[in-house]
């Protein structure tokens, strides 16, 4: 078999920096092997050592500017868990509201601005008749049972003209040098025009979501209203005008999600039906969820949640296993660290062992794929590779029989004439993210009402007092919950009021990790393997599949100690298996 080794670096339209190398059979264009590598490292966990635990949230937030609120909240929850502090109801609701806004923002920007160009051919949109786009939008709105967003000829004509002028220029900017015309673009010209129109409209809608986070968070990215023990934006929460502003924006976002984003998903499900049925880009089909959005004022791990936790192996919906955090290990066989056996995150040693590229040939560097090739370790659950993320949340929730999740997933599947198994694919992963957004859009205003009612009823408590000197003498805690991209855990150990050790295991680590000690592939690698390229010189199918996970690579790189010293060992007793 004649093969070609292809290097794709930089992978664009992701957060962070990633390189993918694939081996392609030159006769069939099939990807026979795939390697995923992170090539940027910062060491934020090292930087967190010796600091005041109350500062961790603001620093950990800087892990990522895309899922900005997630690390902030998770870090603060880990410290609250260590201090045994239960936040007031207003704080729980406010955090859910801001986090919910983040999920929607993250998913919307991900699909339209980081992912849709893998499905949507910009140049094909130029051939469309705007009148056809109106018909197309109405057609999918009927399928979805929704009202199409701003569906008139003038809107599509404007976008078409804008694009036509844009292409007529010599400079295509961010659309320049794309893979336009590739055979795996399957949407019709009218559908492409509809999708590109939504691309531009989504820019405006994501600003609504940014403003929603700012109403109660001060700014976005990197809001600033969470503190250990609660939230600070009580003035804004008490202000009926701010509550109503948030509601107005949230309703507009909801209309767009239902009348544009979901329409595009039904359109994709139809255009890429064969691939969904064949499970193209499906990958591991084993899913892990920690659980997210607490709905009760009890410690998070024991609270009822919007997204229930659990583990499903090999797509077997009849067996949901309860998540047990003691079964998490990390393996560094193929990562740039010295550890030779899988280790529990708390007891892990992280001695760096950078081995560089294997060779440089004709100006192209190649990873040492037999050896170590990434800054990302490979997390294992019960010594198995799993996928995390919106698809995992929808699958596990479905398998748990969660009424709400089942309602939204079944609604889509019945209207698209699909079964749940068809979601185990690149397209399905993308659709699951949209279904989740739609669900959050519907519940977020209920949370807002609950908050408003509680405050108007006289409860204006926003912070739980604690005696810092006392609780921070010797403590350890963890925050395990869901981020937009999947299961996210922060672990902290505190002594004498300072951070002794800090660990974060993030969603993209689970998904983007390299091979493990048994040579098993990570979720990205497994999903890419077996893809067939339409054009061996254009990695479009690979990008489509990798983007379907919404990579967030700055988050994923593990802590190392550059002096080659072992970090102090770190144990947290896990008594809870939420």
């Amino acid at each position: 078999m004649a093969t070609k080794h292809i290097v794709i670096d930089p992978i664009t339209r992701i957060e962070g920096h990633m390189r993918i190398e694939v081996v392609v059979d030159e006769t069939t264009n099939e990807v026979v092997d795939a390697f995923c590598s992170s090539n940027m490292f910062r060491g934020i966990e090292t930087i967190l050592k010796d600091r005041d635990p109350r500062d961790c949230g603001l620093m950990a937030m800087r892990i990522c500017g895309v899922c900005t609120v997630t690390h902030y909240q998770r870090s603060i929850e880990a410290v609250e868990n260590a201090f045994n502090v239960q936040v007031p109801k207003n704080a729980r609701l406010m955090r859910n509201i801001i986090q919910g806004s983040l999920f929607m923002h993250d998913h919307l920007v991900h699909y339209y601005h980081l992912h849709s160009l893998d499905w949507v051919d910009v140049l094909s949109a130029l051939e469309a008749d705007p009148a056809d786009a109106v018909v197309e939008a109405q057609k999918w709105a009927d399928v979805a049972g929704e009202v199409p967003w701003n569906n008139d000829v003038a809107t599509y004509t404007d976008i078409k003209d804008k694009l036509t002028k844009f292409v007529a220029r010599r400079r295509l900017g961010i659309f320049g040098n794309g893979y336009w015309g590739n055979r795996s673009y399957k949407l019709t010209p009218a559908q492409n025009l509809l999708a590109m129109t939504h691309y531009f409209q989504a820019l405006e809608i994501q600003r609504d979501l940014g403003q929603m986070m700012a109403v109660f968070g001060g700014k976005d990215p990197h809001p600033q209203s969470f503190v250990v023990g609660g939230v600070t934006s009580i003035v804004n929460m008490k202000d009926p005008a701010k509550i109503e502003l948030f509601r107005t924006l949230a309703l507009r976002v909801r209309q767009f999600l239902k009348g544009a984003y979901m329409l595009d998903m039904y359109m994709l499900a139809d255009a890429y039906k064969d691939e969904m049925l064949a499970g193209v880009g499906g990958g591991l089909k084993s899913f892990l969820v920690y659980g997210g959005f607490p709905l009760e004022d009890v410690p998070i791990e024991s609270a009822r949640k919007l997204f229930p936790g659990g583990v499903v192996y090999n797509g077997d919906l009849n067996n949901v296993i309860d998540f047990d955090s003691t079964l998490v290990t990390e393996d560094a066989t193929h990562a740039w660290y010295a550890a030779t056996t899988p280790e529990h995150p708390y007891e892990g040693t992280t001695t760096p062992e950078y081995t560089d590229f294997k060779l440089i040939e004709n100006g192209v560097a190649y990873l040492d794929t037999d050896g170590k090739y990434s800054w990302i370790k490979s997390p294992l659950y019960d010594d198995k590779r799993v996928e995390v993320g919106p698809l995992a949340r929808m699958v596990v929730g479905y398998a748990r029989g969660d009424t709400l999740i089942k309602q939204y997933v079944d609604n889509f599947l019945s209207r698209a004439n699909m079964s749940l198994e068809n979601l185990y694919s690149s397209t399905g992963r993308t659709i699951a993210r949209a279904i989740e957004s739609e669900l959050i859009a519907d519940v977020i205003t209920d949370w807002l009402d609950e908050l408003d009612t509680n405050i108007q009823g006289g409860d204006t408590t926003s912070w739980t007092k604690f005696d810092f000197a006392n609780v921070s003498a010797n403590a350890q805690g963890r925050g395990l919950e869901e981020a937009p991209r999947g299961a996210l855990g922060h672990w902290v150990k505190i002594a004498n009021g300072k951070v002794l050790n800090y660990q974060a295991v993030v969603p993209s680590t689970w998904n983007a990790g390299p091979r493990d000690h048994l040579g098993r592939l990570g979720a990205y690698e497994e999903s890419i393997k077996g893809l067939v390229l339409s054009n061996i010189d254009e990695p479009l199918e690979i990008l489509r599949t990798v983007h379907s996970f919404d990579p967030c690579i700055a988050c994923a790189v593990h802590v190392i100690n550059t002096q080659g010293k072992e970090l102090s060992s770190f144990k947290v007793s896990a008594t809870c298996t939420a």
Binding site: D9, P10, I47, M59, L114, I174, G230, S462, W463
Partner: protein, 397 residues
């Protein structure tokens, strides 16, 4: 300095910056800008869009546009008679090509750029400047993306503005960041892309001073652009993330004058970083009145009082957050009840830790930190903060 003197400084309403430079200065600047406009008009246009058409297409009227121009002119601290010039400049703004590179970053500044909406036409401006390369947003990956970069660097040699997001790792031979098929180290990459840039704009605290990556013990030897590139004009727009309104201000200034805006000693544009947060803060009146939040969620917090005792770094931070704000002018951290954390100041993660207590001058986190950049005002303030009885609001620090 006597206590009384410190006190008077601390409570002074005076801005740190004299914004009026006199008639002669403005007349000369105006002439200079006009010459520049004539030159720009002669240049080959990279786009045949004219802003008026675009505005009309987007449903904006000329009036909306002029309103925005007024606001921008004011934000740039220029007299009102510059407004027509600003308007004309925007009309040729598409002639400024921009290359944006991401290094040790979190994409927060790119995300901030997406949210840019101070004036609604920001998006428009994005549409019609020539954004040649932007990893987070561009369609192609790998080789096709690299070709795009090379092409832009060649076509716009000596003309493009280079925006840099993220710090540059220099430790251990620069292994902590590589990019591209050749596995180029960030430190080499930035040097290569900077060579033919007209100027560099470092956006966000990471690209300016190293930011979070450079916080103690700085495991990757992260530093800012100005530590690597020594032979190019550089503008620093710190903050975490940088305010998109300030990014746009710099682009405008460059388009108008062909030069970068007036900078302070840290290469920050004075129009944005000339005043302390403390001096324009909406809660300043409570500071003056001695009304402080003493604990999160207390009666003072519910009434929106001053956050100085909760560790607000507004008195030692130079930025325009209180006036420009974020997300369509919706809010900023102090308005959300949390003190400023000084995110646009050098070394803020070390210098200002812990964030919930006033920072005494002698308690910086890293003894080796370079403190020469701290202005006298900070010294005064932090000295003053030691006069306060810290025990009453400082939980065990």
């Amino acid at each position: 300095m006597k206590y009384e003197t410190q006190k008077s400084l601390l409570f002074s309403k005076e801005s740190q910056l004299n914004t009026n430079k006199g008639e002669v200065f403005y007349k000369n600047l105006y002439r200079h800008c006009e010459d520049r406009l004539i030159k720009l008009r002669k240049k080959v246009s990279f786009s045949d869009e004219d802003v008026t058409t675009v505005l009309a297409e987007e449903g904006y009227e000329r009036r909306d546009f002029m309103k925005w121009v007024s606001a921008t002119t004011a934000a740039l601290m220029l007299p009102a008679f510059f407004e027509p010039l600003v308007a004309q400049t925007i009309e040729v703004l598409n002639r400024v090509p921009v290359i944006w590179v991401n290094l040790q970053d979190c994409a927060g500044n790119s995300e901030a750029l997406l949210r840019a909406d101070g004036p609604t036409v920001d998006e428009l401006i994005l549409d019609i400047i020539s954004l040649e390369f932007h990893e987070l947003l561009m369609a192609p990956s790998g080789e096709a993306a690299e070709i795009q970069l090379e092409d832009a660097m060649t076509t716009f040699k000596g003309e493009y503005l280079l925006f840099v997001e993220g710090s540059i790792p220099t430790a251990d031979g620069g292994i902590y960041g590589t990019i591209g098929t050749s596995g180029e180290k960030y430190v080499d990459h930035i040097k290569r892309v900077a060579v033919d840039a007209a100027g560099i704009v470092a956006v966000g605290t990471c690209a300016t001073y190293g930011g979070v990556s450079a916080a103690y013990p700085n495991p990757t030897g992260a530093c800012g652009v100005m530590d690597i590139i020594k032979d190019k004009p550089i503008v620093n727009i710190p903050a975490c993330p940088a305010n998109p309104a300030n990014m746009l201000g710099v682009i405008l200034m460059y388009a108008m004058t062909g030069e970068l805006p007036e900078l302070d000693t840290l290469l920050r544009p004075k129009f944005a970083f000339g005043t302390r947060i403390h001096d324009t803060c909406e809660r300043r009146v409570h500071f003056d009145a001695g009304e402080y939040v003493e604990e999160w969620g207390d009666a003072a917090a519910q009434a929106g009082h001053c956050l100085y005792k909760m560790g607000c770094k507004g008195p030692m931070t130079f930025n325009n957050c209180p006036t420009v704000k974020f997300n369509r002018g919706e809010s900023w951290p102090v308005a959300a009840g949390h003190g400023c954390i000084g995110c646009s100041e050098p070394g803020f993660f070390d210098k200002f830790n812990h964030f919930e207590a006033p920072t005494p001058y002698d308690k910086t986190y890293n003894p080796a930190a370079d403190l020469t950049t701290i202005t006298e005002g900070v010294v005064v303030l932090t000295a003053f903060s030691q006069f306060l009885n810290k025990e009453e609001y400082n939980n065990g620090n």
